[in-house]
Structure formats: C-alpha cells, structure tokens
Point group: C3
Chain length 392, copies 3
C-alpha cells in the first residue's frame, strides 16, 4: 500500500457526483456490504450448535485477510502508478467482491478446516478470482454487474473443488456436532435476513448511477421477494407434514439475489425478475433435497453449507438468464434487420406501383435523362423544340 490516496473514482465520475457519491453513497453501500459479510453471513454460517463462535470469527478473520490481499493483487493490476498503489474507497469495494468469493467457497468446508488452511485457501483463491474476473469482464467483455457468474458460480465450484480434495470418509455419515440448536437456527435465520435486506446494495453498488442502478435495485428486490414466497410454498410442499425446513428458509430465500446478478441492470422487466426468483429458489430447494446427498454419496463432494444450492445452481440460472436476455436482444436486433429489409423492399415496390399510375406523367423512354422535358433551356434550339417543330 502506498502513501498517495488517489481517487480513482474521479476518473470515472464527474466531480460533483464524486463528492456526494464517491464518498457518501459508496461509503454507505460499502458498509451495507460489510454488514452483509460480517454480521449477515457470519450469523448465517453460525447454524451449528457448537461451531457458531468459530463460524463468525473465522468469517471475520478470513474477510479481513482477503480484503487486504485483494487490495494488493488488484492494486498491482488496476491501481499501480509510478511505483505506488493508489488506494480509494473504490478499491475497497472491488476487494470486497473478491472477498465474497472466498467466504462463499469456505462454506463448503466449514468446520473441517483449520484457520491456517482457510487463510491459505484465501491466499490462492484471490489471485485466481482476480484473473477470472479480468478474463470474463475485461477480456471477453461479458456483462455481470451483480456477480452471478464472476462471484457466485466461481466461488461455488472453487469451494467444491477444494472440498473434493479435502474429502473425509469419516464424515460421510454425518457428525454429531453438525446439528443446530434452537438459538443457533434462529440467529442463522436473522443472518439470512440481514443478507436479504442489504442484497440490493451488493447488486447495485457497481452499476453506474441513474436508471440502470434504479432498475438493479428494483429487480433485485423483486427477485428476492419472489424467492421468499416460493421458499415457504415449495419447502412446505416437499417436507414432511408440510413443515418448512430451516435450511431451506436460511438459503433459498436468498437464491433470487444470486440469480438476478447478471441481468439486474438490463431491460428485463419485473416479471422476469420475479420468474428468476421463483426458479432459483426452486432449484435451491431441490438441490438441498436431492443433489447435495447425491453429490456427497456418488462424487464424494461434501458441501457443509450447501453452497452449490445457493450459489452454484442460482448462479447458473442467472448466467443462462443473461445469455437468454442477450440472445433475445440479438434476436430482436436480427428481427430489426429483417423488419427493416422487408418493410423497405415491400414498401418500395408498392410505392413504385403507385408511381406508375398513368395520370402521373411518367416520361416516355426517349426523354429519360433529359433536362428539356420539364425545364426551359435557353440560346439554341433544343432537341425538344426541333422535335416539336418537325412533328406535324
């Protein structure tokens, strides 16, 4: 880190906006996300009766380690000028996104790792995240403002990969301490609600101010709200005696926020966001019910917090929604081309037919390309007059 506090935002936003937003809005949204990560995610992970303190504390430690490491890695790539990394609130925000990825990945191996192992995972994952994000957003110019692909899908499969490498056959049949207590379940639900309340901040913080950001906030809220209703409905349908599963409630209510990430600021409409919220929480619940046991038993993928259900599946749904929205846009563009060609061709032909009406005095063939048919030409006897004179 370096002495000079550059305001890299200055180059992105007008000065006036910087004064209000550069500090105040960014700061407010930055703190929303800090609250999500440290209180919301911390409590969400604290669902086990004897691992709550560890979940909150390791989340706190790992978050700080990864933020600092991401500031350095991203700093050398994006903010390195004249021997110094320029530091600003914007750096903290982008470092926060890299940190989110690590914290999600850690969910797959929660309770099975030492803090040193977690830090080492963060040390390796952050540069890979930064490289992946650069490839996706800068090299391939993909769009993913709320991180469905860059954050959620990446972190999910990174975490599952790590989990496979850390497979323990001794935990295959579960562990007596891998259960919640009444209070830990309640606190985990409160953590999920913290995440739920501030999720629109996470999705919209990197959108340019204006209509796009307004859309991102609204779409995220709609998707999240659809997920809540879907979770209660589907979970009570699938579970025994119509009872809602706490695990579903703590996770599937957030699935819409994951899935909306890619398309949040696009011109999808609220019903699209609503549909994404329904589909993603449905996928999340089905994932918990059928896919997590299947992966654990067949592929030895142990996923303590079910990150594949909350981040993997909804992230993929979000990515597909992005592709579909863009394909639809491409289709609309193609239809636009077609419409233009067809309307012009048919319209031109019909207009031509109209022009052939006899009373419109179309010139005879021999007077085509000749001024004198409709203009009086001076000085010498024109071909036209000769013709008129010689005509009987």
């Amino acid at each position: 880190m370096s002495r000079v506090f550059s305001t890299s935002l200055r180059f992105r936003l007008p000065v006036l906006l910087f004064v209000f937003q550069g500090l105040y809005t960014f700061f407010s949204l930055f703190q929303d996300i800090q609250l999500m990560l440290l209180v919301g995610l911390g409590l969400l992970l604290a669902f086990m009766k004897g691992y709550g303190v560890s979940a909150v504390a390791y989340n706190f430690l790992l978050s700080n380690f990864c933020m600092q490491w991401a500031l350095i890695v991203q700093g050398f790539i994006y903010h390195y000028h004249e021997g110094k990394i320029h530091l600003g609130l914007y750096n903290l925000l982008t470092a926060e996104f890299a940190t989110v990825a690590v914290l999600i990945s850690a969910g797959a191996i929660l309770g099975r790792t030492s803090p040193i192992q977690l830090l080492l995972m963060g040390f390796c994952e952050v540069p890979l995240y930064v490289a992946s994000e650069w490839l996706i957003l800068s090299y391939f110019q993909a769009v993913d403002i709320g991180g469905s692909v860059t954050v959620h899908v990446f972190s999910c499969y990174f975490g599952l990969g790590a989990s496979i490498a850390l497979y323990r056959s001794g935990l295959q049949t579960g562990h007596p301490k891998e259960t919640p207590s009444y209070i830990s379940d309640l606190l985990s639900l409160v953590g999920a609600i913290f995440l739920w309340v501030f999720w629109p901040s996470f999705v919209s913080v990197l959108v340019h101010p204006g209509d796009g950001q307004h859309r991102a906030v609204l779409h995220t809220w709609v998707a999240l709200s659809a997920s809540v209703l879907t979770t209660f409905a589907i979970s009570s349908l699938l579970e025994k005696k119509g009872k809602v599963s706490m695990g579903h409630l703590q996770n599937a209510t957030l699935a819409g926020g994951v899935a909306i990430g890619t398309v949040a600021d696009m011109a999808i409409n609220p019903s699209g966001a609503f549909l994404l919220g329904i589909l993603s929480s449905l996928a999340c619940i089905l994932g918990f019910k059928y896919m997590t046991p299947f992966l654990a038993n067949k592929f030895r993928v142990q996923d303590q917090c079910g990150i594949h259900n909350l981040h993997g599946l909804p992230g993929i749904i979000g990515a597909v929604a992005g592709i579909a929205t863009i394909l639809l846009q491409a289709l609309f563009q193609a239809v636009g081309l077609g419409v233009s060609v067809i309307v012009s061709l048919v319209g031109g032909f019909l207009t031509g037919l109209l022009l052939r009406l006899p009373f419109l005095a179309q010139p005879p063939d021999q007077f085509c390309f000749d001024d004198e048919l409709y203009f009086q030409i001076q000085n010498n006897c024109s071909k036209f007059e000769v013709l008129m004179a010689t005509s009987p």
Copy 2:
C-alpha cells in the same frame, strides 16, 4: 407489475434531487425500514421461548406477501398508466407502509394463527388500509406524515377486531409456552433497539426534503428518547420491588415514535415532542398493566403483543396532539385576527385624539374638502381671497 420503470418521483422532485435522493436517500431510508421490519420487528416478536423462529419467519413471509400485494393494489390506483403499473422505489416505500400495518395487526394474534390465516388477513387488510389511507389523506386531506393514525391506529384496531373474531376461551388463562426465555427476552430487546434506532427514518421518509424533514427527525428522536427515560422510571415505580418489566422495556420505549407521527414535521417544539414521548410511554405502561387484562377479561380481546398499548393508545395520543396543534394554530390565527382588529381600532382612536391637538391647525368645518386652504390656486379670484377681502 409492468415492463416500464417509471420514476414517479421525477414528477414530485426536481431532477437533481431525484438523482441523489430518488435513489440514494430513499434507498438508504427504504433499507432502514426493511431492517426495522424484518430484523427489528422480527426479533421483537420473538420474545416467546418456543415461538421465536416462527415469529421471525412469519414476519418475513407476511412482509413479502403484503409488499407485493400492496404494490399491485396501490399500483392500480396511483401508478397505472396506459395498461401498465409503473414501478419505482417510491412504490416500494408506500407498499412498505401498508405492510407495516399488517405486521402490527398480526401482533395481536401472534402464535394463534396458521401462516395461511396470516396471509389471508394480509390479503384483506392491505386493500382496506389503502382505502382508509386514501380517505384520510386524499379525500379528507388530513395530515399524518408519520402514520400515527393511518398506520398505527388503523392496524391496532384491525388487529383487535381480528383477535375478537378469533377468540379462544382455552387461552383465557394463559398458555405454558406463552413465556420468554432469558435469550429470547434479550433478543426481543435488541429487536426493540433496532426499531428505536431507525424509527426517525420511518417517520421522516415521506416528508419533503428540507426543514420539515429535519424537524421530523429531531422531533422523533426527542420523543423516543423521552419514552426511554419515562419507561425506566414509571416501570420501576409500578412494578414489584422497583424492577423494570421486560415487556414495558420492549414496548413503551417505542411509544414516542408512534405518537409523534402526526405532528412530527409541524412547528411543535422539542418540548412538545418530549411531552408526547412521556405521555405515550406512560399510556403504554398503564395499558399493559391495567387495560390489557381488562380487555381480555371483560371484552374477550386477546392481544398477544399488546399492540393496543404500543400502537393504539400512543396513536390516539398522536392524533389528539395533531388536532390540538391544528386547533392551536387555528386559535393563533383567530388571535391574530383579534390582535389585528384591536390594535388597529384602539391605535387609530388614540392617534385620532393626538391629531386633535390644537396647534396642528385642523381645518375649520367650512374649509374642509377645499384645495385653497393650503394651495395657491391661479387665474381667478378664489373663494378664499373673496372671503379674506370681504372680511373686515
């Protein structure tokens, strides 16, 4: 919901204000209120030892269902243009107010209802709330910026009405699970503090920016702060051995926020807000101590969370304060008229007496209405000169 994101705020606020506030401030205050409803109210309701998860989860479900339903109902009334409901952050905010009403009402029947019953209550209450609000604010042009009457009084008596219809004689003598545990009491207190901290956001969010909003924030804080001191003082005076009741602490500390709603942005002064805070928390405590048992025993009104004490009585106090403030203003207007008449009449008479002083050369009767007494008139002999000449 509809494809077009209209910015209905644009028509209410200048564009510049929209950019900063329309999204940022509204968004920040919107999230404050989401935090109040989902974390604050959720935890506050989680005071029973075995019904905490349900309280938080049903509050979460009901909140989302009512928000969506209110967006549709209010959308058709206020935001329907050319076949589409225009959606913006402002809609979410007004939908949030309708939702608050339902969540409060649900407090009266907490623990005695199925989730389907709660959703059906929300389905019925939201349109009635919207109609009531329209009648109060648009038709009768009443003023109630912080919702003392429109939100708190309405939701209280709606909830009590529902409670009477759902009366169970079997619960008349209490239920063994209707008691708190140590941790549930602590978490409920933390929930109350969340509500307390963000209450000024709720009261001021719909006030037009400027001095009125500044006043609303300050008055709300003063009223809430007065309620806290009053609650500790009165509760320890009334309870056995001078011990503060947890129920009083979780409720009466918020009473000032309910009562200040109607007059928050008016030109009452801080001492008025302070007085409202004292009176409302006093009423709330006395309500818990004497009125809730009385209503339950005599009128079969079971009120699980004591919403009549926190929302009914303080809401009525707030309404009376609004009437009194407006009457006082009318009285001041009348006094203004009187002052004007009396000062002018007496002052005019006394000034007239002064004008009669002899050395002020008051014109004699016959020269009244005559230029020539004080002006030199040319060309012909004036009546005045004739008079002077004919005088001996």
Copy 3:
C-alpha cells in the same frame, strides 16, 4: 430545549451541501453511530451469562440520559442564542460523542452499580467531558478528529477513577456470575463486529467533507483490519494451546479504531494506519494479559470490561501518533527551511561562479552602474564616447 430549530450547520457548510449532507449524510452517519452504541456496544457488554439484559438495558438508558443532558450542557455553551438553545442534527452528533465517553467509562464498573449510580456518573461526567473537550480542542487547539484523546483516553481514566472509588474487596477474587455463556460470548462478538463495521463512520463524521474525510474512512478501515489479523495472530501465540481468547477477539479487533482517531484525517499513509492497528491491538492484548491483573492486584483498579486495554492504551498510542505526526510535520517544515536556505545559498554561489566565465563580458569596474555601456544615449557626448575619442 427550545422552540427554534436552528441549523447551525448552515453556518458551516454551503446550503447545497446542507441539503444533501446536513440531513442525509449526517443523518445516515448519526444512525450508524446510534447502531454502534445501542446494538454494537450493548451486545459487546452483554458478555456475562446473567447480566446481558442489564448490560443492554442500562446502556440504552444511560445513552438516552446522557444525550439529553449533553444537548443541554453543550447547548448552553455552543448553541445559545437569544434565550434559546438552537437544536439541530449537529447537536445530536456532538452530544453523541459526550455520550460515548460515559458509556465507555461505565464499562469499568459494569455489574457493580445501580442504574441510579450510573445516571449520577453520567450527570457528572458529561459537563467534565464538555469542559475537557473545550479545553483540548478550542483553547489549546489540539487536533483529535476521531476522539482518541478527547473521548477514549478521557473516558478510560474517568472510568478507572470511578472504579477505584467503588473498589470492593469482596470481588477481588472474582464472582461466579462474572463468566460468559456460549450464546452471550457469541452475541458479544456480534456486537464487536457491529462496532467494527461502523467505526469508520464514527471517526469520519466530524471531518469536513472531501479528501480529508475520504482519508479518515480509509485509514480507519486499514487500522481496524490490521487489528483483526494481529489479534488472531498474537492471541493464539500467547494463549494456551494456541487458542484465541474470546475477550481478545471482542476487544483487540477494535483497538485500531481507537488509535487512529487523532491522525485519521492527517497525511499519514496507509502503512502508518496499518502500524497503528498492529501496535494498538498488541497493546490491548498485552494489557488484558498482564496489566489488568496487575492493576487489580496492586492498585485495586477493577476494570470489568478492560476499558484500559481497549480505550486507554490504544488512545495513548493514538495520541503519541498524533504528536509524532505533527512533530514529523514540524521536522519536515524545519527541513523545508533548511532545504530552502541550503539550496539557495549553494545554488546562488555556484551560479555566480558560472556568471564569472570570461566570455560573458562582465563589465569592468569603472563602467558599473552606467547606462552607456550597453545603451546608446542621445544629445550630448557621452562619457563613453569621450573615453573612446580620447583613447589612442
């Protein structure tokens, strides 16, 4: 309190800034700090298994009492005009700082005092805080934007002073209830994290908007983040079997925020902030391990929450950092003087030597101070021409 709502901020900030910040930013930061004090500090203090409700409730009561009392005391000194105290959001903010001091002091005597004793302490401490702050900031013109000295050091030694006066030999060997439960420890950690997340708001709220405030936010974050890593590292090194102490985790992670207060907006660099974070959390942990028992045994200073470790030692480190930064700045100023003198003297001498090069046609002594050497003078024979003519 008084009828007129003055906007004392108006005199400090341009009107436009007032509209956005005066209410919105200040309001948002004010609520951040309310959340810190009432939820964050409340939960942090609730670490004992049977004193959690009291800790949260007394913190709530004392906070409100001191805010109101500070509004009056500070109002008479700073906001008294024409018989009235002018009230605005800025007053609430400065009153909040006085309140923080009392709430910290109360940490030293937590659990050993009645609520009346706490209120009386607040009644005495607030005017002393205001006087001390006035002496430090207004009279001696010291700089301490984040309150390392004015808030943390003051409140720490005030609390320790009160604790000495309230010494109880019966508690010297500990008390069976002076221990945490699993959940109280977890909630206390969550409280610390709330404080940690919003600490940058506390440090930067009184900095003038712009680069200084941006720096204050960044420095505070860097110091806090360094403290987290240091706490985990040092605590696990010092404790038995490499286990992290919950007390260290709940306190030393915040030490950087205390220490950064004085220099937060100065032109220290992030590495300076990082170093402060490391040193202050190291001091905090060593304080808990060695100094608290030493003070208790030798000097009869009982410090329930270890405020000397979290506020005293880091506050002093912050003050020393402030002095060092200013001395360094003075040194830099002196070096600046020296650099200016040396560069000018040596440079001037060397340039003079350069000017003496023979081909530069330095005038001979007798033509010094004479126009005619290089200018053609009209009308009469010049001394120069005479000289030329008389020369052979």
